[in-house]
Assembly symmetry: C2
Homo-oligomer: 695 residues x 2
Amino acid sequence: MIKKVLIGILCSAAVLTLGILIGHFGITKSSGSAPSWVRDVAKDVDESLVEKFLSEVDNIQIQENLRELTKVPHMATTAGDEQTVKFMLKRWQDPESGLDQAWREEYMVYLSFPDPKNPNSVTVVTPSDAVLHTVREKEKPYTADQEDPEVGKLVYANQGKPSDYELLNRTIDLNGTIAITRYGGAGRAAKAINAAPYGIIGVLVYTDPLDINDGLMSDINETYPHSWYLPPSGVERGSFKNHYGDMLTPYLAAKEETYRIPAKNVTGIPPIPIQPIGFEDAYILICLFVCLPCCFTLLNLNLCSSDVKLDIFNYEEVRSSANVMGVIRGSVEPDRYVIYGNHRDSWVHGAIDPSSGTSVMLELSRVLGKMVKQGKWRPRRSIIFGSWGAEEFGLIGSAEYTEQYFTKLSERTVAYINVDIAVFANATLRASGMPSVQNVIFTAAKQVDAPGLDSMSVYDNWIQYANKTSPAHGTIPRVGYLSGAGSDYAAFVHYLGITSMDISYTYDRSKTNARIYPAYHTAYDTFDYASKFIDPGFTSHQATGRTAGNILIRLADSLVLPLNCSDYAESLEEYLKTAIDLAQSYIHRHIVTSSAFHVKINAYHPPLSHLSFSPLKVRMINDQLMLLDRAFLNPLAFPDKYGYSAGQPTFPGLADAYDKAESSGQSNDWDKVHYHLSVLSQAIDGAAHMLLDVI
Amino acid sequence: MIKKVLIGILCSAAVLTLGILIGHFGITKSSGSAPSWVRDVAKDVDESLVEKFLSEVDNIQIQENLRELTKVPHMATTAGDEQTVKFMLKRWQDPESGLDQAWREEYMVYLSFPDPKNPNSVTVVTPSDAVLHTVREKEKPYTADQEDPEVGKLVYANQGKPSDYELLNRTIDLNGTIAITRYGGAGRAAKAINAAPYGIIGVLVYTDPLDINDGLMSDINETYPHSWYLPPSGVERGSFKNHYGDMLTPYLAAKEETYRIPAKNVTGIPPIPIQPIGFEDAYILICLFVCLPCCFTLLNLNLCSSDVKLDIFNYEEVRSSANVMGVIRGSVEPDRYVIYGNHRDSWVHGAIDPSSGTSVMLELSRVLGKMVKQGKWRPRRSIIFGSWGAEEFGLIGSAEYTEQYFTKLSERTVAYINVDIAVFANATLRASGMPSVQNVIFTAAKQVDAPGLDSMSVYDNWIQYANKTSPAHGTIPRVGYLSGAGSDYAAFVHYLGITSMDISYTYDRSKTNARIYPAYHTAYDTFDYASKFIDPGFTSHQATGRTAGNILIRLADSLVLPLNCSDYAESLEEYLKTAIDLAQSYIHRHIVTSSAFHVKINAYHPPLSHLSFSPLKVRMINDQLMLLDRAFLNPLAFPDKYGYSAGQPTFPGLADAYDKAESSGQSNDWDKVHYHLSVLSQAIDGAAHMLLDVI
């Protein structure tokens, strides 16, 4: 039965391709004496304009954008953030910019901050409250906060995964302890959420040098400013909540007058405090103060009587956060949008995260705007640039934007391109996205020169670092899937079901095991760091910008949208194989027949003979392609998962339900697996209906 | 602020009108030497074809359709139902029909039936179980039905509204009683749901002659077959549940392999049995056996010791129910649908409900199909006919259809036309719909002759029976709003947010107070009854068919969709006034500022100067019009209300929340009012964004 679905989808892809060819031919031949709009509606990507665009994207302009953006720390809603808002507006509202419109869009969002008058502290105290050790309050400079404290014995809980706590709990009574964990393995908030059921009263989290620095630790000659590695006092900040978007206004845009749920009803935040610290302090705490059971107790004989004291004075406040929006209006289909976005707020100076992406976005808007201003070009579809606010606090700006413009964006957005951290490292392109965007990414990457390499394209370089074998295409670069909520694509993908992608330059994994670039979310992520250790010369920024911009132009200008549904079918087949493997074991153990997974598809006869060729027929095909991802939406299928209404081809609902049923073994949990198989089956059916039959 | 919204929407309407005129002009002028599709895309409604259509809709054909459809009772999923499925398929699959495709679509749905081997009974028994009275099991013919019984004293509870039970409870202990109620005032299921909290163990419901028969009761000379009035033994059947769609597969299409929730988890059904009876039996029960408190006890002195015994043997079963679908493919925009539907299943013979509507639908499809077959016409957009199954059990066929094709229908449906009961009575047209459809209904009604009246249009006749004053149009016929779940439009309106309407012919209210036509849902709703007492000569059926068909052609053929957003704005203003009145008193009493209701709208500048004219620009305007109702959708805003995801301009969420808060006075209920004000405010904002700014 599954085979039938896939054949159906593949067939349909073939029909579409045929339709595209004939349609294109039929249209372009028919200009001449016809009215001018006949020629306009038949316009396609102009390759000479793409070349012009690629040649104009300038590395030095990107460098200077970054210098400007990183002059001051610009954490969301601070004065520095406002400075970047004004900078973006000045650029985009300049009549010379070529943009048709630019504006700021304010949301009143609920954020948590440390209290400068009452700094958070982590200390180790004796029973008589004498301080044995104080964790560093601020990172060490090189070139340039709750009421009653939580007090408890310190335990080491690895990565704070459920299995880590379970293992630890076998040998030690975790009740009333404070757990120290390292980044990785489980999400930031999850480390505390997983800990709470064991009676743990607070969690510390640090960045282990083995995970981030390839083991290097000394700031005398090993770490920044001697290399890109994280100095011992570096603290990785982050949002410690599980949901995205503003917490007081779920599913509604956080406007001033919007109803806010009481703060006590907020869900998705850890029930116990969690505090990030540097590895310098973490090692002292682990080596000297961790209470280990049995054999290890000898090592910290007397110290085990000491307590760790967490004084957390964070406070919550509703503050105004801004998105900055810029628009180039489409000439032929203004009501179709290609959205290109990146957040603007950082934790400190945020040179790489996010200002590398913002610098690239500004350069793209400069080059494209100039082409518009000079009268050389106007995109077929509208281009919307979004500089999102408060991403670091949980993707807030982009989520509020999707909530506010729900219907409009759902109905009109062709694709969303996210370039957050533009350059993690300067070895190779990295791309993630829905299966249908693979082809346009490849086309774009083949036309861009790889930085620092003679006559090699970004594509040819990429394929050496990450590749896979495709039944249809042979060896191709591996494109990842946007399954999580790691950046602003989340609301576009999970809430609206919009075809999305995330583009960057990244590491040579044979040269480093760093979990992420080492200065990530620390005070060391500066212009100096970026220009010396991440991308000297800014040519990788340039390559990311050229590739992403080329994709943007193709999505905005192509007569027929460059979204490939046969690649969709291929990925779907991969995911379905996994799902069937899951389902088989489930079916054998829990239900008699496999009828639940019989995904039926009728033998539709695609309406080739009815096709007469007109702009409306091309639009029909484009709408089918645009809505392919939306067809997987089932807004009511995920009652337990905030902000997820998409039934996506990776089947997150099914995967979650399966995991739960596997661990609990309870029949009502298996019923939920069965339920999600039905949701999935009908989602595939719905997607097939969108493609196969126009009526 | 409200004013600003309205002005914004009105402005936008004006801009659209302008765009429409220029767009149309620009396109029609540009044919000539251009390719043939240039002419095709500019096609508009051909008035001569409308005239031809009107002249061909035949009353005798409708009469013969009705005769055929009512040969046997055709309750959902019975052999008689299957007979009507085959009849529809034969007509629509006939190569001469002109339809491009017709098929049956099966769903496995959960229904409740009386058990023929174990009929339901209502008896009055003495303490020693001697039967004093047995309620009639079957209706009296003139021309041509749980395990342990529920036993309790009988009480009279008026219409079974919450206030009725509350009042009664002040003077009598309702625990363990059986309540007799009359139809009207509260929904069928609500009468039992309202009763249960008082410990009432069963409910009887009857049709009061004052509500249905203008007081007439005698079958010697007053009721059918002497008139259209209901005979004393007539029992109004109906579905006694609160949700619509299949109960075991919420939000999923009820396909064979679909996951079904356990029957014990079904929601929306009354917790106690409820049984309909005729007024003949009802009057005996009320006069002789009702236990009245105080003064009235003298009247039924001994009899009050008797109990009423409800033996209800209904059983539930999953059965196959079919929709029959027929399609005329669109020539220019096949991916835009106008859907015309009506259910097929009845309670008994169902001549009026629903076969009057089915007879009309068959006549429309005959005339339109013939025009296609003769090569005279093919609609610009696709026309889909739907003959829904199992409507009487809770709108099941249409609801499953919308669940199965959720994305496709949401994205492509221009409008839904429902003609269920085509003729309630032969006095005047009746129409309900979203505000934007008023104008096309008027245009169509002006072109149709009123039955039995010389040279008067359906429109001119209608305005005499039901009218209102519109600021923009002066005196116009009153078009109702589709707020409930009374027929198959419910899933289209509330679940998908599709622009919908419901058309019929109805009473002269000065001549009868009948709640509905008296034979409604009884065994007397036959061909004989319909042809003698409802519409002799079938000319009102013809007028309904001509009007609905004319609307259908206009929606399918108009270059620019005949949906009027300034009428939308006018209705919105009416509803907003009501909402503000509600909100004011709320604001005065419960919150300090009225900021919650400040519906903001920015001063958008509609892009007139950017408009060059092409089919894609017309499509853009059409999509704005098509999606206007969809912009009010907020799928996650009604977590407590099954199947409602629309934030509709009548504000059902706000109204419900307000009612609850008013009666409870609790602050968390007032918080919900505040929440729904925000949902509403953002829905209006969303709709305005769809109209005002293309980008």
